[in-house]
């Protein structure tokens, strides 16, 4: 697992789930602590808006915790199950937000203040790199974005990606290949500087 709270692995997660099913509140908290960062990053990378990402994350965890008895450990890992729910909720958000919407945070440049330890130029470079990546992800179609985020942002294998996205592994592979091609074109269209900016940070 790539998230902040270390757990032993699938066995420990499954044991936590069993504890949750007995009604133990601390087990829910432990599960949340373990998966929250990953799920938030996934949602944010897919919907690319902070408020939407928070809403989707809430829906995901509320649904997962209320339907925990439906999880079958013999069919998929809990991580895959949770990611499947999150991706499905993100797709609902794409559908609801077909019309272009305005990100007021970006419009007025309302940015969260950088920690005092971070130098202004480092902060600027970080922001620039993040914006470049956001633009690149935004330019991808949702299936390509999902594939590339699951692969590189969360380290899922092609098989796991296919389970989460509900497609054959070959389709997952071709989506990642297409995403590579699109990203190459997008970054070239933005000029070599953008690519170098990404590479240099």
């Amino acid at each position: 697992m790539d998230d902040q709270q270390p757990l032993g692995g699938n066995d420990e997660v499954n044991s936590l789930i069993q504890t949750c099913l007995t009604g133990e509140q601390t087990a829910y908290t432990a599960l949340y602590d373990h998966f929250a960062t990953g799920i938030y990053r996934l949602c944010y990378s897919l919907v690319l808006q902070r408020q939407d990402a928070e809403d989707v994350m809430q829906e995901t965890f509320v649904y997962a915790f209320k339907n925990l008895y439906r999880f079958d450990a013999t069919r998929a890992s809990f991580k895959t199950w949770l990611y499947t729910i999150a991706v499905s909720r993100c797709r609902n958000t794409y559908r609801r937000k077909r019309l272009p919407n305005i990100d007021f945070g970006q419009l007025f440049r309302l940015e969260i203040a950088a920690p005092r330890s971070e130098r202004p130029e480092a902060e600027l470079a970080r922001k620039a790199a993040e914006d470049a990546l956001r633009q690149a992800l935004y330019a991808l179609t949702p299936p390509l974005r999902e594939a590339v985020v699951l692969r590189y942002g969360h380290g899922l294998t092609y098989r796991e990606i296919s389970e989460v996205m509900g497609c054959p592994p070959k389709t997952a592979e071709s989506r990642i290949r297409l995403a590579h091609q699109h990203l190459k074109h997008i970054l070239q269209a933005h000029g070599q500087g953008l690519l170098e900016e990404l590479l240099s940070f």
């Binding site: 829910y28 938030y40 944010y44 990378s45 965890f61 692969r151 590479l199």
Partner: protein, 187 residues
């Protein structure tokens, strides 16, 4: 052949740099990368892209301090709420259909239970129930047998049911038409 190798190389390069090919395919790809400069260029390009995405994406959108705790409080509250029973459209249709069938069955069963037993039973016509036309000696009267033992007498005032027909002395009968093989009157 060279062109085919290069095309194959470009086709599978992403999977190659992601370590998703079988050992045999990896060896084949490695041969092509060594042999063709185009394949090597493609390999470098894809590898760089893969490395950058692998480095950048895991730190993209990392939640800020306190954000997850704030979200947890909301999630905790939502999970603690009792589940509301919301039906989807197909479920609503199925439940309505089932309820309608149940109501219909109850109505039918109740009607049958409280009925006086005089139910109409439709049966196919049989020879025994055939209508026999009988013409009487009186030109103003026509007798019609509606069953082997009942006779309807047609008069100007309407029909008159006559029971206990005299089957031994059919003196009134002038003609007798029986299209069905029923027991003949008086026999």
């Amino acid at each position: 052949m060279r062109l085919l190798h290069i095309l194959y190389c470009k086709w599978r390069m992403t999977a190659y740099v992601n370590g998703e090919l079988s050992p045999a395919m990896r060896r084949r790809m490695a041969r092509y990368i060594d042999a063709y400069p185009e394949c090597y260029t493609e390999y470098r390009r894809q590898r760089d892209m893969q490395r950058e995405l692998k480095d950048r994406l895991p730190i993209f959108g990392v939640p800020q301090g306190g954000q997850l705790q704030r979200l947890w409080r909301v999630i905790e509250g939502e999970v603690a709420k009792p589940t509301t029973f919301i039906l989807s459209l197909p479920q609503l249709f199925a439940y309505t259909l089932a309820l309608g069938s149940l109501v219909w069955m109850v109505v039918v069963m109740t009607t049958l239970y409280y009925s006086d037993g005089a139910t109409l039973v439709i049966t196919p016509p049989t020879p025994d129930n055939a209508v026999l036309a009988v013409e009487t000696s009186n030109p103003n009267r026509t007798a019609q047998v509606i069953s082997p033992t009942f006779v309807a007498i047609a008069t100007s005032g309407g029909f008159e049911i006559v029971t206990e027909i005299n089957t031994t002395e059919p003196t009134d009968r002038a003609t007798y038409q029986n299209p069905y093989p029923t027991p003949r009157l008086g026999e």
